[in-house]
Amino acid sequence: MKYAFYPGCVAKGGTPELYQAMTAVGEKLGLELHELTGAACTGAGVITERDPFAGDVVNSRTFAMAEQLGLPVMTICSTCTGVMMGVKGRVDAHDDYRERVNQLLADEDLHYSGQTDVKHLLWVLVEDLGLDKLKAMVVNPLQGMRLAPFYGCYVVRPSKDVDPLRLGRMGYLEKVIEALGAEPVEEYRGKDKCCGFPLLETNRRGSLALTGKRLAEARDAGADALVTPCPLCHLNLDGQQPETPEAGRVDAMPVMHLPQAIGLAIGITPERLGLHRHIIDTKKILAKVAVAG
């Protein structure tokens, strides 16, 4: 399985452990990842907020680069994924509009035909690799661990953009957690809600209140940790956790990136997964894995 790999800015900036974990996990799962080093930021919705046309062109540029390689794009960020799927919704379907977009790409001899597929790692696991295959690779099942799925808004909404064929992508994270041998916390109400990140600069109090709410819901549902396919959610849930109204509670809530959870189960060391680089200590999880393993 080959992909044009789009890591996104945060995996190479604020959450370097995600990039590190993905590289290790990709190798072991047999995913051939060709990194798009020349691709620009998706804009995380902010370029689109300021100038929707610019957002569409910048992302189509990325799709055109993948098209040159003849590969689908693979992302590891819910936000990147959502932005790209939204752009595809506008650009793929309308030939005239795509032509306008392509005019701005011509400078670099790029052209987007409207065909590039975009998939988050989470979708790759279920739709391309297959859960059975994933299960077969587990050497260190995360038994006895209750993991709360935390999707990140943009990988599940708007569903018409991110799940146009109605494959039930909202639900994949629970399935993956199960395949890793852990117990998904099905009743976790926060799973498809907002982590507060987009409000961080404009209403910090509201932002942290949302983060705190999501953490409290996880604790109330008896989760040992959260698992998220979105590094921006991670920045708030982990990085800002000490600042939330929930902080200071004895049982701080560790937050794993999706590839880290996979890595633990398929036998990659916590060090290589960068689990020591979190703000909230992950020892609690590691102790459980050690007992189970």
Partner: protein, 328 residues
């Protein structure tokens, strides 16, 4: 088919807490959730309180939460949703009057506060207003709002920030701001630029997802942010973030969260409160590079951003056109 409904009920005058009540009914395949609830009320439990009128997704009175998210009961076909057990709850972000009936007064008050009527610059023309077709197309979705409150029910920001004016009122505000006949757009936008306005939206797409009429409130909110910035209302963290974002991506082709944050927040106090978070990250080896890494092709990205900006469409306003002597 047999269907199980798990309904959250409460009579605030008598019960301290809401409680769950299960109902099992047999219904035909084509039934909607509303049909099933009415059957329960008629045949099983006449004390169940709910609101409805048109039964054909027009009146907007049957909003409730179905399996965790707001929907119109009369638009929800039972055969389309998980039939293990359907959970039914009153809408969120609104006080419960009884069972599935919520108090809409705060909802209406927010809507009235935006002056939901046309404010033209001059007396209306003798005959009809004349406006080009394409200046009205984008209002197509937004005028379809039936004020059911589903978007407000599931609004994430509102759940932690009661002064946020919310998606229904903001979608309505856009409906007038973007109407070529309305002349109060600067005033409207100035008001929405403050606390409780457009910058308090957390961009979560919940309102877009649950709206039964494709009004897409969040998209309207983003459009108003854009209009404000284009009008020069740029002295707030949101506009600063947007401009800094464009600038950073224009320079490096990629984002640098630390620099974005530093350029988006105002004042030393705010910066200091973020610096604690930054120091902790530093301690864990998440040091941001002194100079952000520049992607190959960064200059091309800058050119794209600049050229796209020049293609931004001009807004059409009847009164401006009149002043400038332009014929519609």
């Amino acid at each position: 088919m047999d269907i199980k409904l798990k309904v959250r009920r409460q009579n605030p005058e008598a019960d301290d807490k809401p409680f769950w009540k299960d109902y099992a009914v047999e219904v035909p395949e084509y039934y909607t959730l509303l049909d099933a609830l009415l059957k329960v009320r008629e045949e099983v439990d006449e004390t169940l309180a709910l609101r409805c009128s048109c039964r054909s997704h027009i009146c907007g009175s049957c909003g409730m939460r179905v399996n965790g998210h707001a929907a119109l009961a009369c638009k929800t076909k039972l055969s389309d949703i998980d039939q293990g057990a359907v959970t039914v709850e009153p809408m969120g972000n609104m006080p419960v009057i009884r069972d599935l009936v919520v108090d809409l007064e705060p909802f209406w008050n927010k809507l009235y506060s935006i002056k939901p009527y046309l404010q033209p610059a001059t007396d209306p023309p003798e005959r009809e207003y004349v406006v080009p077709n394409d200046t009205m197309f984008h209002l197509d979705g937004v005028v379809n709002c039936i004020m059911c409150g589903a978007c407000v029910s599931d609004c994430e920001s509102l759940s932690v920030n009661p002064i946020f004016i919310g998606p229904t009122a903001l979608a309505k505000e856009y409906r007038f701001v973007a109407d070529p006949r309305d002349a109060a757009d600067r005033e409207r936008l100035t008001q929405m630029n403050g606390p409780g306005g457009v910058w308090d939206c957390t961009h979560c797409f919940q309102c877009v997802e649950v709206c039964p009429k494709d009004v897409a409130p969040m998209e309207r909110i983003m459009a108003m942010r854009r209009m404000m910035m284009d009008m020069g209302m740029e002295q707030n963290n949101g506009a600063k973030r947007a401009n800094a974002f464009m600038d950073l991506v224009g320079s490096y082709g990629r984002l640098d969260e630390t620099r974005l944050l530093m350029r988006s927040v105002s004042g030393l106090g705010e910066l200091m409160s973020f610096s604690k978070v930054g120091l902790r990250a530093l301690w864990k080896g998440k040091l941001p590079p002194l100079r952000p890494h520049r992607i190959a092709g960064a200059p091309a990205v800058r050119r794209i951003l600049e050229r796209a900006r020049n293609q931004r469409p001009r807004r059409f306003k009847v009164h401006q056109a009149q002043e400038e002597g332009v014929r519609a």
